[in-house]
Amino acid sequence: MTVKRIAFVQELLKFMGLEGRLHLEWISSAEAQKYVDVVTKFTEKIRNMGPNPLRAINEMKKAG
């Protein structure tokens, strides 16, 4: 169910121009290293993508 929902929401976010900001990974409690790798990699990736564009839009009260 989760993978279905995530796959869908990823598509939706892509359509909205917000791709890459949602990621799903299964990590068991025994896979500490994988957890660290995934979280580090994802954090790095999001950091490289720059600040959340939605924040800018919601603070932008005036157009043009």
Binding site: K62, A63, G64
Partner: protein, 530 residues
């Protein structure tokens, strides 16, 4: 409104919205504005708050509360300086231009900027957008009128429209957006102290005779009192009994304390409403009236369109349509009214209001209604006014100087409070707060405060705060938002538990129109320790 709603979408090349939070208060007019925008019209928004429409505007400015005259004068200054005005139109159709220009000449962008807080370049750009995209429609609402300078503000709007030849033009005009669905109709029907239907003055002997003859009684030729005056009169025991129909002054009139004090002095209060409003709760007798959908009748909306409202079901319980209640009361008091239907009344109205309603019948109103003036049965109605000439003949330019609002921020009351509507509720909430969906949207009152100010007084979102004005004190929770400018607060008017009129002043009103200054007042805000 001089013009029609549909024109904004199809005909206007520029739309200037000032003192109107259109998406929240007139959403379907806002819909037209959005559509106009998407069809290529320029949109200019001037409002002390960051309203939603500002996000879509080509240019939006936040001028200081109460600085409308200065802003408009500043725009006109720029227009005249740049020869963007319409000298032919002015020469042909208007008068008193020179005196007006003399005042305008003094409102340089720099000076206006000092008063309004709007950058000179924005003033210039506003002037350009408005004057260089014809026809341009000017829209305003209570943000213009609810001031001590309300009449001045309106006149300034008119000046601007005339200056650019925008009056009497399809897609242009001066368009005050009415606050209720039928406030136009109520005024048309003489719901004012000084006129009969169709603005025929009670003091005009011809009109007075016409109505006296029609109704078989001699009518007074002295104008009555405005609400503001009435409260004073009650206070002075000049008025002892009051009959209130479909209004909730306990929440809508200024200075709650003063009003309550006065209402207590009444010997008899009769309220007629569909809900048990705050005012009805203190009545001696209540007449329960039928609601929309339970009665026939007409409404005349903001674009002067008179439309039929049809009964869909019988009134609930023993409620009656207002016209039947009034008829019975009148009959009981000795003046027999025996109308058999709303249509009979409408026919009497059209017969006595020849110039504007004379050509209307229920049959002609059909689905879409008719816009007055519609003087005879063949007249198609009038989408926009002042087409060839102004109603009064020449369009009069008024030379208007900027005046400060009655209260300014000071050491003791460092914040300026403005009031208004929010999108989920209507007026005093009698009708909307009983809707589950709208209640979910906003359950109770709040005060909007800028994040910088919130930081200064150390409050977080939803923290309770205490508001104090020269009239009274009120507790309310804070909503932190950049929708208001630093130094300003905004309080919605819908919530009886946080009545804005505890804070607003009844002494500050427009000298002519007597409209209270709901839009500016000085207050203090303090954090309430939990």
């Amino acid at each position: 409104m001089t013009n029609s709603i549909a024109e904004f979408e199809h005909d206007s090349k520029a739309i200037f919205v000032i003192g109107s939070n259109t998406t929240a208060c007139h959403p379907l007019i806002a819909s037209r504005i959005i559509q106009a925008k998407e069809n290529g019209a320029k949109l200019i928004v001037a409002d002390p708050r960051n309203i939603q429409l500002a996000r879509l505007a080509d240019l939006s400015v936040n001028h200081r509360l109460g600085s409308d005259v200065a802003l408009l004068n500043g725009m006109m200054h720029v227009i005249i300086q740049n020869q963007w005005h319409h000298p032919d139109y002015i020469a042909d159709r208007c008068e008193d231009f020179d005196a007006f220009k003399a005042v305008i000449d003094m409102y340089t962008p720099d000076r206006v900027s000092d008063i309004t807080g709007v950058a000179p370049k924005d003033i210039i750009r506003m002037a350009e957008l408005y004057s260089q995209n014809a026809p341009a429609a000017l829209l305003y609402a209570m943000g213009i009128t609810q001031h001590t300078t309300g009449v001045d503000n309106v006149k300034s709007c008119c000046n601007l429209a005339m200056l650019c030849g925008n009056v009497g033009v399809k897609g242009g005009g001066i368009n005050p957006l009415r606050g209720q669905n039928n406030v136009q109709g109520a005024c048309d029907m003489g719901g004012l102290p000084n006129v009969f239907t169709g603005y025929q003055p009670v003091s005009d002997p011809g009109a007075n005779k016409k109505f006296s003859d029609a109704w078989g009684v001699e009518l007074s030729s002295t104008p009555g009192l405005t609400i503001t005056d009435m409260i004073e009169a009650i206070d002075q025991k000049k008025i002892k009994a009051m009959y209130i129909i479909g209004e909730n002054p306990k929440l809508s009139d200024p200075d709650w304390n003063h009003l309550n004090h006065a209402l207590k002095k009444l010997e008899f209060l009769l309220v007629q409403d569909i809900f048990l409003s705050e005012t009805a709760q203190s009545a001696d007798v209540i007449f329960a009236s039928a609601a929309l959908g339970e009665r026939d009748g007409t409404f005349t909306n903001t674009e002067r369109r008179c439309m039929r409202a049809r009964k869909a079901q019988d009134p609930v319980g023993n409620t009656l349509p207002d016209w039947q209640i009034i008829s019975r009361l009148s009959s009981a008091m000795g003046y027999a009214m025996d109308y058999d239907s709303a249509e009979t009344i409408f026919d009497e109205i059209t017969g006595l209001t020849e110039k504007s309603y004379g050509g209307m019948t229920y049959e002609r109103l059909g689905i879409n209604g008719l816009q007055w003036p519609c003087p005879n049965p063949d007249h198609p109605g009038t989408p926009y006014l002042h087409k060839e000439t102004f109603a009064r003949g020449k369009g009069k330019f008024h030379a208007i100087e900027y005046k400060d609002p009655a209260e300014l921020a000071c050491g003791e009351y460092p914040f300026l409070l403005t009031t208004g509507r929010m999108f989920a509720h209507f007026h005093t909430g009698t009708m909307t707060r009983v809707s589950r969906h709208l209640d979910v949207e906003q359950k109770t009152g709040y005060v909007e405060i800028h994040p910088d100010d919130a930081m200064t007084i150390k409050i977080k979102s939803n923290d309770p705060v205490l508001l104090t004005s020269r009239r009274g004190q009120m507790e309310v929770s804070a909503r932190i938002t950049t929708d208001v400018m630093p130094g300003n607060l905004f309080l919605p008017i819908h919530f009886g538990e946080n009545p804005t009129n505890i804070l607003t002043s009844s002494n500050a009103f427009d000298p002519l129109a007597k409209i209270p200054e709901f839009k500016v007042g000085a207050v203090r805000i303090e954090r309430l320790i939990q």
